[in-house]
């Protein structure tokens, strides 16, 4: 199949098989910031924003993503790091880094809907993102810091 996808604001032409998952199509076309983890919708390493909603790209068939807008972690900012990314660095919430793109996108999706989340909201919003280093305390602190900074950035 051949179609056009809008990824990070740019229209790109993609070729794929009718059974291909969005995860594989994105990685094949250079978007390797979308990580391949469990391929079962459980780890959250592959999450992207599809029309602004956080989804596991391993659970999306590419043929169903025509005419949608896909945002990967690199699409959150074209130049410098976002307040969310800075908060993850400043809080020491990055260990091996494999889960970080998914965590950052999940944080972004949360703060879009709820700019002042409490710890319960944060845990719920990140319930689909697993950290294999088990660094959850720092990650939750990072989301709280990001919420504070995003609020101050307006």
């Amino acid at each position: 199949m051949k179609t056009k996808l809008t990824v990070n604001g740019k229209l790109i032409s993609v070729h794929f098989s009718p059974r291909d998952r969005l995860l594989d199509v994105l990685r094949k076309h250079g978007f390797t910031e979308v990580k391949e983890g469990c391929r079962d919708g459980e780890c959250g390493a592959c999450v992207v924003l599809l029309n602004g909603k956080l989804v596991n790209s391993c659970q999306v068939l590419a043929a169903s993503a025509m005419d949608t807008e896909v945002t990967t972690v690199k699409g959150l900012s074209s130049e410098s790091a976002t307040p969310i990314q800075e908060a993850f660095v400043d809080s020491g919430a990055v260990q091996c880094g494999f889960c970080t793109p998914g965590m950052v996108l999940a944080t972004y999706a949360l703060l879009q809907e709820n700019p002042k989340p409490d710890a319960g909201h944060i845990r719920q919003a990140l319930d689909g993102n697993l950290c294999r280093c088990t660094g959850y305390v720092k990650i939750i602190e990072a989301v709280q810091l990001a919420a504070l900074r995003t609020k101050h950035h307006g």
Binding site: M1, G41, G44, V55, Q59, L61, A106, A125, D127, N129
Partner: protein, 271 residues
């Protein structure tokens, strides 16, 4: 590898025409299809362009478009109704990114063994509207038990009752990231002295779901203290198959314990 054709209908009549031959698989969120695999499927009808994502939560009834996602449904309820049995069950059912993808219609049509959605629908006397070969409105029980209704038909909307209730939903899992071995859903009127309009269903039994009508009849209309005087063994006849979570005997014991605990929670401090 077999050929796989995708169709993208723009309106319901085109979708009904495509689906009625019974040879094409509908695609809504796609999660069930990916899990199931494509064996035997040569054509897929993508439903994403169809106007089926509206949700109306009214005081007496609820209407859900088949393409509404679990998170769409949760967000359609006002914050004051976060303990609604439907919200409880969907919040626990999957992770946030999956809830953004799993649809109401897809969940009912696929009815996976781990479904958290079916219990509340059964208790709220849901009905499904179909287009295609079996066009019409059917009770959720009929839809789930009559295979002929599913082939060549497409769910467009789901209707159900709404009423003030105490709702509890239990999913038996080994970890939070796990499919449940079974679920138990209970609703009851908000009277804390008397069991009122008590409804109980177990999903995941050998017959897929089991409405516990004998227990409902025994308790309904009685003071909540009646719980102390009944022998649960007489009523809790459950047939849950062995699963990865444990043997049939173990799961039945767990189910009875969970059900007892849930009824005591509904009864409050009086028992």
């Amino acid at each position: 590898m077999e050929q796989l054709n995708w169709y993208y209908p723009e309106d319901l009549s085109e979708a009904a025409r495509l689906i009625s031959d019974g040879n094409k698989a509908p695609h809504s969120g796609g999660t069930a299809l990916i899990r199931r695999g494509f064996r035997g499927i040569q054509s897929i009808v993508d439903l994403s362009r169809l106007p089926m994502r509206n949700i109306e939560v009214r005081s007496e009834n609820i209407e859900i478009g088949a393409m509404s996602t679990y998170n769409d449904i949760i967000q359609a309820f006002p914050a004051t109704e976060c303990d609604h049995v439907l919200v409880q069950s969907l919040l626990n059912s999957a992770s946030t990114p999956l809830r953004n993808r799993i649809t109401a219609g897809g969940s009912v049509a696929a009815f996976p063994a781990w479904s958290d959605f079916i219990g509340p629908l059964l208790l709220l006397n849901a009905e499904v509207e179909l287009i295609g070969r079996g066009a019409g409105v059917y009770s959720i029980q009929d839809y789930l038990t009559q295979r002929e209704l599913r082939a060549g038909s497409l769910i467009t909307r789901i209707f159900m009752e709404n009423y003030p209730h105490i709702g509890l939903h239990h999913r038996e899992t080994r970890t939070q990231v796990d499919y449940p071995a079974f679920t138990i859903t209970i609703t009851a009127g908000r009277n804390r002295d008397v069991f009122q309009d008590l409804r109980i269903v177990v999903v995941g039994s050998k017959d897929r779901f089991h409405r516990m009508e004998r227990l409902e009849d025994e308790l309904d209309g009685k003071p909540v203290t009646h719980l102390n005087s009944i022998n649960f063994e007489d009523f809790l006849v459950l047939d849950i198959p062995s699963r990865k979570h444990g043997s049939s005997e173990y799961l039945q014991h767990v189910a009875k314990t969970a059900l007892t605990w849930m009824l005591m929670k509904i009864a409050g401090e009086k028992v």
